[in-house]
């Protein structure tokens, strides 16, 4: 059992996500940075879909009531056990009575806390991920609150080795300027050629409206090609006949501020989508904070698939090393 002394800003239970229900409008939820999430579970010997705590910006204070093994990965929000700094990306031993707390965030935005066995909450549609908008998954469908008690689950498949550490080359570092790769397309024909160029040419600032639903960026106005709106679309030039939104797709309502749709986003609607963040860079998006800047980089589908393979191979190599 783990007691929540202080919940942090937004700490939720997340796993690999609620997959296969997009057609009824159910977004996947799940860990925003799937790479860090996966590594945290590997370090404590959990199976691939075990639930972890996703910690955003400001860490919680937790008290462990049992001896266990944990690992912390993701952005650099320095963790402390009983007030002493401890390393991230390493398997750590916990004794009953230990308190875990955090310093201010140094870089990145989200930390994953894996506990051997995962966190035991009911599975909803095959997942324990929290989706706060509909109040499902996780602990009562919400972020953690002071006084909550978390039960440890049985999602472990290997015995973890305390002190096992991920090699530095596998540990991502996060700065305040980011490059995010996207595949241009979907309804990008709606933007003028000049606006398409500007989309890739400027640094976009992440506004305070940046959460698990999506990130909103400020920069400059983008313009749409003049046309008579097709029947059923609505009158704004950024409107299309309501359609499905891929996870990671970017839209620009009224041309004003681009929004990247992420894990808890709406699954469809009536705004023209212009590009989609590639799966490997969705991990990076999850580590971007408000007030940081993003430059979008256009890549081909083959480059996107190659980047995906790189992440997959890295996780495979980490798995091999930890199993040795």
């Amino acid at each position: 059992m783990i007691h929540v002394i202080h919940p942090g800003l937004q700490t939720t239970i997340q796993d690999g996500g609620r997959i296969g229900f997009y057609e009824v409008g159910m977004p996947p939820s799940g860990a925003m940075d799937k790479y860090s999430y996966a590594v945290s579970n590997l370090l404590v010997g959990n199976n691939e879909n075990a639930s972890t705590l996703e910690i955003t910006y400001l860490g919680p204070t937790l008290e462990f009531k049992v001896d266990t093994v944990i690992a912390l990965t993701g952005g650099d929000i320095p963790p402390k056990i009983n007030g002493e700094l401890v390393p991230m990306w390493e398997t750590l031993e916990i004794k009953a009575g230990d308190q875990l707390s955090f310093d201010f965030v140094k870089s990145g935005a989200r930390v994953y806390l894996a506990i051997a066995g995962g966190i035991d909450v009911p599975q909803i549609m095959g997942s324990r991920s929290t989706y706060t908008l509909c109040g499902i998954g996780g602990l009562e469908g919400r972020s953690l609150q002071a006084g909550d008690k978390l039960e440890i689950g049985t999602d472990n498949e290997r015995t973890p080795i305390v002190g096992a550490r991920i090699e530095d080359k596998y540990i991502p570092t996060f700065t305040k300027k980011h490059e995010i790769r996207v595949v241009l397309g979907l309804c990008s024909y709606r933007l003028t050629e000049e606006s398409k160029e500007r989309f890739f040419a400027i640094d976009w600032l992440v506004t305070p409206e940046a959460n698990r639903v999506g990130y909103r960026f400020s920069g400059e106005r983008l313009n749409f090609v003049d046309r008579e709106q097709p029947f059923g679309a609505g009158s704004n030039p950024s409107n299309v006949v309501d359609l499905g939104y891929p996870i990671g797709s970017i839209q620009v309502p009224d041309g004003v501020e681009p929004i990247a749709l992420l894990n808890d986003a709406v699954t469809g609607g009536g705004y023209a989508t212009i590009a989609t963040i590639i799966s490997s860079d969705l991990n990076k998006m999850g580590q971007i904070k408000t007030n940081e800047s993003v430059r979008f980089v256009s890549v081909s589908i083959d480059e996107a698939l190659a980047a995906r393979k790189v992440v997959k191979n890295q996780l495979e190599e980490i798995k091999q090393q930890l199993n040795r």
Partner: protein, 289 residues
């Protein structure tokens, strides 16, 4: 001509038409149904939408270009002429012009095209109706095809089964509201919707549905198999009700005893497209028989 687009490395988006029509929605339904039947490995989600559809896939199992080739093939071979839809006709009771929706929409007048009237009055005027009562009559006279599900879990986009010249069309809000009440009945573009849960939204608001669209506890009969009620292809008839009936239905919903009035129906796109009025009359006759 259909457009095939990559949605990153996990989605293919297919726009069959830029414009909404019953034909194109039936086409999206027919293609996605065929794709579902084929049960191809590597397909994660099949999401039909209004004039388009989207497929989520696992690129480790199927290359996107291979999938696109497959989908283009379906576009050629699947015809709505030999497509049959098995669905439900559903009676959906709506309290129009209700106090809760009006309270909510008055809070966002600065985001609306016409801050001086309500959404119903505005929509009636721009669609050439004499009064909001006439608009409500037009909305409730003919049934709708549930043409897409999404936005949030269960939200049904509904397209009225009437000829183009009779379609009601309204713009979306100038800037979206940050609040929409749960079960609000809205209209945007050529689509009617019911918001399953409270949240942001940009559609014009006309009323409140007495009945749930999303039920996370899955207590009542219609939610036994799923937290969401609407399915694509369903035929919804929106019926205007009094405050008295609204309160009676709400009581049943809260007690968990409510059950939607539904009838099963099998129909072809052809019957709808050739004689929408006849189809509509047939639907209402069966529903209330």
């Amino acid at each position: 001509m259909a457009r095939y687009e990559y949605g990153g490395d996990e989605f293919i988006f297919v726009e069959l038409s830029e414009e909404m029509s019953l034909e194109v929605n039936f086409q999206a339904m027919a293609i996605t149904e065929e794709l579902r039947k084929e049960n191809q490995p590597g397909i994660v989600d099949i999401c039909p939408s209004n004039a388009s559809y989207m497929v989520r896939f696992d690129p480790d199992k199927i290359h996107p270009d291979e999938l696109i080739a497959k989908l283009k093939d379906l576009e050629q071979t699947v015809s709505i002429n030999d497509f049959e839809i098995s669905a439900r006709i559903v009676d959906v009771p709506i309290l129009f012009d209700d106090p809760w929706t009006n309270e909510a929409l008055m809070r966002f007048r600065d985001r609306h095209q016409d801050p001086t009237s309500t959404d119903l009055e505005y929509a009636a005027r721009i669609n050439g109706f004499e009064s909001k009562e006439e608009l409500i009559k037009a909305i409730t006279d003919s049934p709708y095809l549930v043409s897409m599900i999404g936005f949030v879990p269960g939200l049904p986009w509904c397209y009225q089964m009437v000829p183009r010249e009779q379609q009601i069309e309204v713009p979306k809000y100038v800037r979206p509201r940050t609040f929409t009440p749960e079960r609000a009945f809205g209209f945007g573009g050529a689509f009617a919707v019911i918001y399953p849960v409270q949240g942001a939204g940009g559609y014009q608001l006309f009323g409140t549905s007495a009945t749930p669209i999303f039920e996370k506890d899955q207590r009542s009969y219609d939610f036994k198999d799923s937290m969401t009620f609407p399915r694509q292809g369903d035929v919804f008839r929106y019926r205007s009700i009094t405050l008295e009936e609204y309160e009676e239905i709400r009581k049943q919903v809260e007690e968990g005893t409510f059950r939607y009035l539904t009838k099963d129906i099998t129909f072809t796109p052809k019957t709808v497209l050739e004689d929408p009025k006849g189809f509509s009359e047939d639907v209402l006759r069966r529903l209330y028989a």
